[in-house]
């Protein structure tokens, strides 16, 4: 059973994603802030991380967290999928696409648009873990 860690400040988002993942035999753990991030991730040792971008403490906390995770030797092989309500489909001038993924600026495996479609979520997680 693969373990997925959801890092999102919105408990409803965590619960709705957990509904889908638990029904598909994933073990789900969650975290609602980015404090003690590395310690918490290392203690849970997830197979994949779902990471939100905007947190109350910082509008770009998710990006910073992704860079922090990528720099950690023990976590550099853990796939990170960014969850965002404000991404490429919004065309708001601060959008990003899969092309923006890079080892230094945006070291993530991919993006998932909020609201989360169950089939898209499961497919992305499956392809990222394998």
């Amino acid at each position: 059973m693969s373990k997925v860690m959801i890092i999102d400040d919105d408990q409803d988002m965590i619960d709705s994603i957990s509904l889908i993942l638990e029904a598909n035999d994933y073990e789900v753990v969650s975290k609602t802030d980015t404090e003690n991030l590395i310690v918490d991730i290392e203690s849970e040792n997830p197979d994949l991380i779902l990471l939100d971008i905007v947190f109350p403490e910082d509008a770009q906390a998710g990006f910073k967290a992704a860079r922090e995770i990528a720099q950690q030797e023990s976590l550099k092989n853990t796939p990170v999928l960014i969850l965002s309500a404000v991404n490429q489909l919004s065309n708001l001038g601060f959008s990003f696409t899969e092309n923006d993924i890079s080892s230094d600026f945006m070291p993530v495996t991919g993006f998932i648009e909020k609201p989360v479609k169950p089939d898209v979520l499961l497919e992305k997680i499956k392809s990222s873990i394998t």
Partner: protein
């Protein structure tokens, strides 16, 4: 390595300007050395028989001196690029270069008979440089020092410390050197003229520098405000969209049966909740887009050369899924004959224009309909027409379609998810790109929206 390649290492606008001027100064000196050497050679070969007593040795010595110094400055400049030196060091280099020029000019002035040619006025270019990069007091001192250097041969000639050189054998120089009053008068007029020039230059450059600082400050403020606006928009977009995204995620999960079986009545309600969520999500996105576009500051740097054909080919692929839901066929018809579809625009605004028009075409088309995207040309314009066979727009409403939140009755009845903001966004984006939008429509027959973009590259 060119200055343009390394200029990124210096952040200060004055340092950038100083580096550019130093580079310019070195280049000008190379041109001067080349041209003056050529002139010396020409004069030597062609005017040897005329009564011109040129002291070629001084002119050659001045050029050799300048050549050696300029070679040094050339490498010094490269060093300053590599080390990313600040204004203090660069000003010192500039001062050194100005002094070198004055020294070489003094020799040339002496060789050309001191007052017999207007070569003495060559101190003015360096005076301009000094007013640009030094304080008024410093630049006055530099100009006066330069003046003292170039009139020094005349003074030394007057006191017979150095031999008198005259190239035209005229009595003018003898007259000036014969009477101390005439010499002093001549020097006074010359110095006053140069100081007056310096005063004019200093006033102009001070005004320019003041304007430049004001511009720089306004630009920095604009950048800061733009960044703040982006952050505020991002934050408000997130705050508005995140709760709806959570609701919609629940709807997806419930619809897919992840919370157990739900009866048809509940499922119908859940589907309605989902549709209302979609409407709100679209509305929020459109309102924020519209707000962003209204405060958009247009500058040439935001635009670049694009190939419209390639853009449209890539653009259409994004709409395959949406069109397939209604089994709508989208055709791209390129009617350009050997014309490269070059325009100056930016992808973000083009995307907003065509995504809103094509989304409307899909939403207001009947299932299994056909949408043609036709690329053609009309004089100096490239035309992109999006033609659908949908519900169309009543003639009486055609002039209102660009108004914010306007929706015709037949549109509301046919598709309830529309926000009435799509064509307002299209209008604003077109204005930003300098494009024109035309709409032709017939009720129950379809709509043709044509975007006319000016052809051309950078």
């Amino acid at each position: 390595m060119l200055p343009e390649d390394i200029i990124h290492c210096v952040q200060d606008i004055h340092v950038k300007e100083l580096v550019k001027r130093l580079d310019w100064s070195v280049k000008i000196r190379w041109y001067y050395i080349s041209i003056s050497s050529l002139l010396i050679l020409c004069v030597y070969l062609m005017l040897n028989g005329l009564k011109i007593n040129l002291h070629y040795e001084y002119l050659i010595a001045a050029n050799v001196f300048l050549f050696a110094c300029n070679l040094f400055y050339h490498y010094q400049l490269r060093y300053s690029y590599d080390k990313c030196l600040g204004t203090h060091e660069l000003r010192r280099y500039l001062f050194l270069q100005i002094m070198t020029d004055y020294l070489a000019l003094t020799l040339v002035v002496y060789a050309l008979g001191s007052i017999e040619t207007p070569i003495i006025l060559m101190i003015i270019p360096n005076s301009i440089l000094s007013t640009l990069f030094f304080t008024p007091r410093q630049s006055l001192m530099i100009t006066l020092f330069g003046m003292l250097m170039v009139i020094m041969p005349l003074i030394l000639e007057y006191f017979h410390i150095i031999p008198i050189i005259t190239i035209f054998d005229t009595s003018f120089k003898s007259l000036v050197l014969s009477e101390p009053a005439i010499l002093l008068g001549y020097l006074f007029i010359l110095t006053s003229g140069v100081v007056f020039c310096w005063y004019l230059l200093c006033s102009i450059t001070n005004r320019l520098i003041k304007n430049e600082l004001e511009l720089e400050s306004s630009y920095q403020n604009m950048l800061r405000l733009d960044e703040e606006k982006t952050h505020a928009t991002l934050r408000s977009t997130h705050e508005l969209k995140a709760p709806l995204a959570a609701i919609k995620s629940y709807v997806y999960a419930l619809n897919a049966g992840y919370a157990g079986d739900v009866n048809d009545k509940v499922l119908k309600i859940i589907t309605r909740i989902g549709k209302r969520c979609d409407y709100l999500l679209n509305n929020i996105t459109d309102i924020i887009k519209l707000g962003n576009l209204k405060s958009y500051v247009v500058s040439d740097e935001q635009f670049y050369a694009m190939n419209l054909t390639l853009f449209l080919e890539k653009f259409i692929t994004q709409y395959r899924a949406l069109s397939q839901e209604k089994q709508i066929t989208i055709n791209l018809k390129n009617q350009l004959h050997n014309t490269e579809a070059r325009i100056v625009a930016n992808e973000e605004n083009l995307q907003l224009i065509f995504s809103n028009i094509l989304t409307n075409a899909i939403n207001y088309s009947h299932p299994k309909g056909v949408i043609d995207i036709v690329l053609s040309e009309k004089k100096d314009k490239l035309c992109v027409s999006i033609e659908d066979q949908g519900i169309g727009i009543d003639e009486k409403n055609i002039n209102n379609v660009f108004e914010e939140h306007f929706r015709a009755n037949n549109a509301v009845e046919f598709y309830e998810g529309g926000t009435g903001l799509g064509l307002s966004i299209v209008k604003l984006c077109s204005q930003i790109l300098g494009a024109e939008v035309q709409i032709k429509s017939k009720l129950e027959q379809g709509t043709i929206v044509t975007v006319l973009l000016k052809k051309g590259g950078l």
